[in-house]
Amino acid sequence: MSDSNGNLIQLTAKDFKSDQEVRWCPGCGDYAILNAVQGFMPELGIAKENIVFVSGIGCAARFPYYMQTYGMHSIHGRAPAIATGLATSRRDLSVWVVTGDGDALSIGGNHLIHALRRNVNLKILLFNNRIYGLTKGQYSPTSERGKVTKSTPYGSIDQPFNPLSIAIGAEATFVARAIDTDKKELVEVLRAAAEHKGTAIVEILQNCNIYNDGAFDSVREHKENRLYLRAGEPVTWGDKGVRIGPDGSAEIVSADAEGLLVHDPGHPEPSVAFALSRLTWDTVGAVPMGVFRDVERPVYDEAVAEQIRAAKEKQGDGELEALLHAGDTWTIS
């Protein structure tokens, strides 16, 4: 990027660190994510002042305070709505939303799905730790059934949400998943999200070492259970592979079986991405990582700007005087 005099400036991760003391618990997965994001930001080639982080409430929502960009720590669940207003009226900005599983999928579920369907130019980072951390350990909408927490001493009886299934069902144009400590792949996914035109949602599996430690150990610690999705390549992990069965669901077969699914995140139909989103540690003993879906669709804020441009071209810039005098008027002398 260059400054106002046209001189090239190379920003570094340090430029994106604010002067605020980071106040997450020691050992929290959020540190790794913050680190990866600060390290990735210079790659965007966007001046710091043109980047905005908007968050709601929760541990993840403290994120904007630690970024030396513009930022707003807003209200529980409402960040996608607030960011929609900002991104729609300020198309010159790069707007990022940081949210958690409670923020995005419980109290803010409505805003999340509508941001996704509108395809506003927002990058949504959903830190999923499957627990309410800031309120000290109640179950969340992604907590597994039977989970014993302070608010579910007899075990949770709620069916959890699958965040990516919801996103795909909500007409999201970019859907991806990464792990907090898997910096290389996380940055890879952030890069793809940043390049995507429209709303991108990235679920980041994040460990809460205080209230839900080890929730993702099956893939965080056991890397062999990560199923990396690579565009144009067959979907496999270890000696296993994925094939789409006659009923449209993903079935697990041997890695050398015939008819393995070749990953195509740009497929116009969302059904295969949805089938992939149903593969979980609980169902198949592996968790797909990477970009599930990346398709083009008209971007909301672009369409808004285009309607304004077309109206101005056709009718000319609005004149207040003419507006007030339009229609039936009469004169009294």
């Binding site: 106002s4 604010s18 605020q20 001046a47 710091k48 002042e49 043109n50 980047i51 908007v54 409430i57 904007p64 305070y65 970024m67 030396q68 960009t69 513009y70 930022g71 707003m72 720590h73 807003s74 209200i75 409402r78 709505a81 607030i82 960011a83 929609t84 207003g85 900002l86 991104a87 729609t88 009226s89 300020r90 010159d92 900005l93 409505n110 805003h111 509508h114 808004v304 309607q307 304004i308 077309a310 109206a311 101005k312 056709k314 009718q315 000319g316 810039d317 609005g318 207040l320 005087e321 507006l323 007030l324 005098h325 229609g327 039936d328 008027t329 009469w330 004169t331 009294i332 002398s333």
Partner: protein, 616 residues
Amino acid sequence: MGAKPVERIDHVIVRFAGDSGDGMQLTGDRFTSETALLGNDLATFPDFPAEIRAPAGSLPGVSGFQVHFADHDILTPGDRPSVLVAMNPAALKANLEDVPAGGTLIVNTDAFNERNLQKAGYETNPLEDGSLTSYHLHEVALTAMTIEALKGIEGVTSREAERSKNFFALGLMSWLYHRPVEGTLEFIQTKFGKRPEIAEANTRAFRAGYNYGETSEDFAVSYEVAPAKLAPGRYRQITGNTALSYGLIAASKLSKLPLFLGAYPITPASSILEELARFKNFGVITFQAEDEIAAAGAALGAAFGGALGVTTSAGPGVVLKAETIGLGVALELPLLMLNIQRAGPSTGMPTKPEQADLLMVLFGRNSESPVPVIAASTPSQCFHAAIEAARIALKYRTPVYLLSDAYLANGSEPWLIPDVSTLPDISTEFATKPNEGDEFHPYKRDPETLARPWAVPGTPGLEHRIGGLEKADGTGSISYDPDNHDLMVRLRARKIAGIAADIPLLEVDDPDGEATTLVLGWGSTYGPIGAAVRNVRAEGRKVARAHLHYLNPFPRNLGEVLRRYDKVLIPEMNLGQLALLIRAEFLVDAIGYNEVRGRPFQSSDLADAIAALIEA
């Protein structure tokens, strides 16, 4: 006009009433436009059910439109109609009690069949049982004559022909009151241009109604109401919601900021969203959000980015926005909230006015979270109220509530179009430079207004974070310091209270300064109180009146004004919300006049109450 005699009268109150599907609002609108062009002063009161098409012929389905026009200046749509046009038995039954004895009834006899009479709850036909003898009854076979007039137009179904009967009624009324018809004929061509056969049908129905008046012996006299002597200038007719929409566009121009409206459809606020959505060539962005919360949130997000952020709603939606307003108070960003009040609680009566959200907008948030509150008083005054609300929001970096209601929203009056060059400059400056050495402190306040700097994203070097957590004075960093919190709570309160120095003094209308009773109002009761005060004075009594446009902070002379009078009467369409505030803040024994009937005050009732208090 043939040879029929013409009688000159100074004012008329006409009410059109029919089924919700009968086109009464359209008929009333057109009659009003004709009346406006003629130069009468006027005021309208559309009164309709929330149901789009309530069961045909039923009492709940009756939709009404009242228009009061005169050769002098008037303040209200009138208490009781002198003429009722009733398209069916239900319309007659629902409205007859409002018509004074000696009033005129024009009824569509074709609709008075057994089925409709039964639906309306009539045991006998009122046209035949002698119950209407104290009225001037005109029985008109509106439907049959309309269908007859439309014979031979190709492509018009019999159902469509029957639906043109409202234009027959409009034509008849246009003849009866000598209204100019060219505007309506043009309107029909424009509105129905895509279906020329419907345009033809409505034109023929309109002419047939007009001609019927001229030739029928049933109408022996027609009436003239001369133009009113209003202030010179160019006028248009305007409703409150249109005036608010234009006021917001004006505020955007005058502040040089793009207008961003976040809204969710809700009666009676939706027409602001619909109106503003038309003006993209003014750079207006209208965002129809997924819910009321997102509507407010998006407006606040746009304000963070440097737009004039606005959200509109009515009570049941405003309650949902409370958390966003609270965040706006903490962020100290400009934000306009328009609350078009309606009768409640909960869903209440969506299309009916009430003034019972005052305490909610003042106090309906957690903790100490003061916001300025402005209230519009007439349909056209909504224009200036919107600009003033924007001025305060921008200058003081605060959410501001603007209160209107269903009466102002849909009611209309002639409006002397303001000279654009006389509108105030409400532009504000964004922060562009560090304000504390080489640092930027987002909460370092202007010493005079206590407003904080507005630094919008995209400004190099001023990157900062704001949020709902308490902030340290000046730096804006998160702070849990007890002294700092106490200071910040007081600073926010002082900032809003200080606006009192920046708003006009309360004007008192007390012609000879001898009144001992003051009538204090706010909001849409402006017209009815004014009409009532006129009545009281016409009877030789002395009374003072004042009307509040600022509910928070109050004008700085309010206490002094109140203490000048022995008695203070506060009429409100609630159970005494302003009265509660006045009593609490000024220790004045104010007396309430309260009605919550979902309709504007009858000024004659109010005049009686004022007179009674003066004599007491």
